[in-house]
Symmetry: C2
Subunit: 358 residues, 2 copies
Amino acid sequence: MPELDLSLPSVDLTRAVCDIPSVSDDETTLADAIFAAVSALPHLDVVRDGDTIVARTQLGRAQRVVIAGHIDTVPINDNLPTRPVVEDGAQYLWGRGTVDMKAGVAVQLKLAAELVAPRVDITWMWYDHEEVAAELNGLTRLAANRPDLFAGDFAILGEPSNGQVEGGCNGNLRAIVRTRGVRAHSARAWIGDNAIHRAAPILARLADHTPEEVEVEGLVYREGLNAVRVSGGVAGNVIPDLCEVEVNYRFAPSRSIDEAVAVVERFFDGYEVEVVDLAGGARPGLDAPLAREFVAAVGAEPRPKYGWTDVARFSALGVPAVNYGPGDPSLAHHDEERVPVAQIDAVERGLRAWLSAP
Amino acid sequence: MPELDLSLPSVDLTRAVCDIPSVSDDETTLADAIFAAVSALPHLDVVRDGDTIVARTQLGRAQRVVIAGHIDTVPINDNLPTRPVVEDGAQYLWGRGTVDMKAGVAVQLKLAAELVAPRVDITWMWYDHEEVAAELNGLTRLAANRPDLFAGDFAILGEPSNGQVEGGCNGNLRAIVRTRGVRAHSARAWIGDNAIHRAAPILARLADHTPEEVEVEGLVYREGLNAVRVSGGVAGNVIPDLCEVEVNYRFAPSRSIDEAVAVVERFFDGYEVEVVDLAGGARPGLDAPLAREFVAAVGAEPRPKYGWTDVARFSALGVPAVNYGPGDPSLAHHDEERVPVAQIDAVERGLRAWLSAP
């Protein structure tokens, strides 16, 4: 089993964490390594639930902060192992997971080991299956098995935010849009009805669409509606009777989930639409006292978060939550995913300063 | 191993042959049964090459006719086992393979067993992998291993032709039309470039296309250009960087294969096109003396064949070839594939009469 040395500098620890591949549904090796490393720390109370690991200080502090990060990544595309790269004179760590979000996880692991007496009690959470359907998310399972572990006054997700504080998040909907036809031999196509040809207007509507920008509590959320998968076909000589386009709608946190469903149904009017994944967004939540204090301590300008993150889950539980982590979210899932080393260090310094302050 | 009783009436033998599933690449069970049945016939010289079986009379006749049928089918879609159905007072056998082309194969097997002294020598061929790429076709392999077996003065393919004689066939081209983009997290789609959206005009061109009708030697061939598969997508939250549309072009036998490639490249101008399967058509070939004699003997009106069939292969070898088999080709590959019992009997009578005539 690979071992993690939490005394390494954050950038080296990031590299070690990234070089243990952990594509969604294949996180066990990394989870084992994290569990072993934090179980060795006497100041933490460690609980494991599947491939999710929770480590808590129990100092009897007046307030508790949850600091969480997912340990899975999207599929590798020839971008592991990691390597150091230099761009415009700045040092980066390149490779799958460096941005989304193993640099954040590495900083958390390092601070979990070193902050034996923080100013607030801390619940560290490292969890699985964030990059796939919401019902598979490790926090969904943990919330069912151990809802008590989510107790807290404030939560920080280490999702990439360029070392800035990003408030709230867009909601996330996935749906299958279907066309149906009639199979026939492709030599006599006029007998059948081609379901793939029937999907032409679906792709055309998507290609022509301009997403909205929606202001919520002073932050502007940019929406998105995209095909993420398309499939259809039976054999090379058969007119296909089914075509499925999977679409992903990212919607502003001012929209309810019902409204998001209505938007998609209206957009694909005339087609069969099946919603397969749905998670509401989160309003910025930057008016909470601990949130204001945290933003001031790390010296950041709050921005909107475009991607759905688990801040929405904490927000729904009444725990104000923000995103704060190294890495440019524009490069998450990108083949050229890479994190500036300076941001890893800055986030480590920011969190350490705030959590250590008297 | 299932056994085939070649003394059964043709319709019952058709049923037995259909109820041994033999989707392309899974023909061995049926090939074993055919091999066992014809190997028991002392008047035939039997050769097996993979799942292709060739059985020849060696009577020293002045002329030799090749009579061939493929034993594979397209995928089953809840349409096996076969069942008898009645429609408008007529009896049908319903199920995968009944039309394309196991009724034809059953008639051939029965006549192979019973015609011990035909007027011409006969080379019976039952072969695998017709419903997939041309390079997998059992006859491609046989032509490489045993080209001598293709010698003949005339060839009859038992492909469905409603019991009529269908001359020649359209050519067949398959190509992949690709769009490329740039992956990104779907929460920030504007960073990436959606390859599926880029495929919208490909599907629109296909949906708007009206195929040509081309007259060749008095017969009118109807062309077709269709998407038969579409695929694209990486994960539910990733902007896809690749979309592939597989298209199938059926082209009139007056077009060369080079011309067919040019038509497709022109049609998808601006896109990456890769031809993955290409087989030329066959001109009707009804001016050959044996062909004229055969048409007169079975009392049929020649028609054009739309689908590509292996007549093109014989045609290319200089052996005039026609399609003659039971079943409506419009129902080939159809979920409701069904063959009129009367056509099975008529084709058996037609072939038997011509082959037995003094």
